[in-house]
Structure formats: C-alpha cells, structure tokens
Symmetry: C2
Subunit: 105 residues, 2 copies
DNA sequence: CCAGAGGTACGATGCAAGTCGTACCTGAGA
DNA sequence: TCTCAGGTACGACTTGCATCGTACCTCTGG
C-alpha cells in the first residue's frame, strides 16, 4: 500500500502507470534531468523551470510520485524530489536507460 | 516519412508515441503475445480476441502501427500483424523485454 | 454469384488528462 | 512580525482517448 504521500513500494510499481507517466514529454524531461545528475540528487519542483503554471507542475510531480518514479520528501519550506534509481532498475531493468538516451525535445 | 499505411521508419520512431501506445493494457497484451511467439509470427487482429468491438480493435492496431511497434501487411482478406522486433531492439534496446516480463493482467 | 467474415471509416459519447487561475498554507528571511 | 517564495487544493475548461454502432468495402468459400 502506498504511504501517506502516495509513494508505492517497489513491488507495487505497475508498468501501466509508469509508462503513462513517461508518456508525457515534460515528465520525461524531469526524469532525464534527474537521471543525468549524480545518484541521490534532490531538486525542488521549481528548479526544473517547466513552461507551465505552478498548479500544473504539482500535477506532473504527483503523477511521477504515484507511479513510483520519484520520491518527494518535505525539506523545510519545499519538497525535494529524487529519482528512485535503484528501485526502478530493480523493477524495470533498462527502462531508465531508454528514457535517458532520448535526445532533448 | 511514414509510408501509405502509417509505418514509421526506425529513425522516425519517437519515444513519446511508443510509450503512449504501450500505456494501454490491451495494446501491451498484443505486444506481449506477439513477442512470446516465434520471430516473424503474423496474426490477424481478430485472433487476439480482445474484449472490445471491432471498431476499437482497429483503433488500437492503428496506434501500435503508427508508433512503429507492429507492421501490418494486407494478405488477401485480412491484415496480418507482425512485431517489429529487430527495429524496436535497435531503437529502444530492452524495451520489449520490459513489456514481455510483465505478468498477465 | 452470394453470403459472410475480416477490417476500415465515420460520427457520437463519456471520461480522463493537461492546463490554468485563485485561494490558501507553511517555512525562510529581512 | 511580515512578507514572499515554494507547494498544494479546488474548481473549471478543453482536448484527447477509448469506446461503440453503423455503414461500407473486399476477399474467400460454398
């Protein structure tokens, strides 16, 4: 069962929601940028400078979080997002590499 | 440029449409069944016995075809569908394996 | 030749998704 | 303390998607 903030466990990750989350180019961009950074890198939602409103940013990060792609932890004022790299590699080996290999859109 | 029937070339395959096509469980089921069969296996749309109407089946196969996942060739009365296994492995290595590894839904 | 099966095309419908504005809450910092 | 930036919640709107029925085309088999 997902926790209070909607993070599924590794076993709870489903391919359908994961692929649906990655079908959106903005969300793939977030995953790509996190994957390009050192493992464990935590960034705020706003640091990605997505070309949409704040409300829409929240919407996209929820989709990523509930699919299991990222983890969000409250850190003071903001919520830092980290890529669940090891979990993803265990559950869907190679998927992250495919997203990373995609050229900028 | 895609051909008359909407098949993209390997270079034209885009991750977004491919992931969007695979986000649907019915379409993943088609890909899984084709991937489980010997390479080159050609099946008719109706042979998958999808639990939807004929019109919807056509819709799903078009999505798969235009994303580049399958190839459809007219064979007499029907259109045989084959998995573009080698093309997919070249363009998105490992993706097919991830879909295949998914348990029946 | 004709009936039927396999598919497509088109229009309609219902629902989910992406988007936004606004209001609101909560820490950080002046 | 007060202001502001980071996020969330909610409602509204629009677009896209999955779905269907129906009509239609085209082969194949009797």
């Amino acid at each position: 069962m997902p926790d209070d903030e909607g993070h599924p466990t590794v076993e709870e990750m489903r391919l359908g929601p994961v692929l649906a989350a990655l079908a959106d180019p903005l969300r793939r961009r977030v995953v790509r940028e996190l994957a390009a950074a050192p493992d464990g890198t935590a960034r705020t939602c706003s640091s990605f400078a997505l070309p949409v409103s704040k409300a829409t940013v929240t919407h996209h990060f929820r989709a990523l979080r509930e699919a299991g792609l990222i983890q969000q932890v409250a850190r003071g004022n903001s919520r830092m997002a980290t890529l669940r790299r090891a979990d993803l590699e265990q559950r869907f080996p190679g998927l992250l590499g495919i997203v990373t290999a995609e050229p900028e859109e």
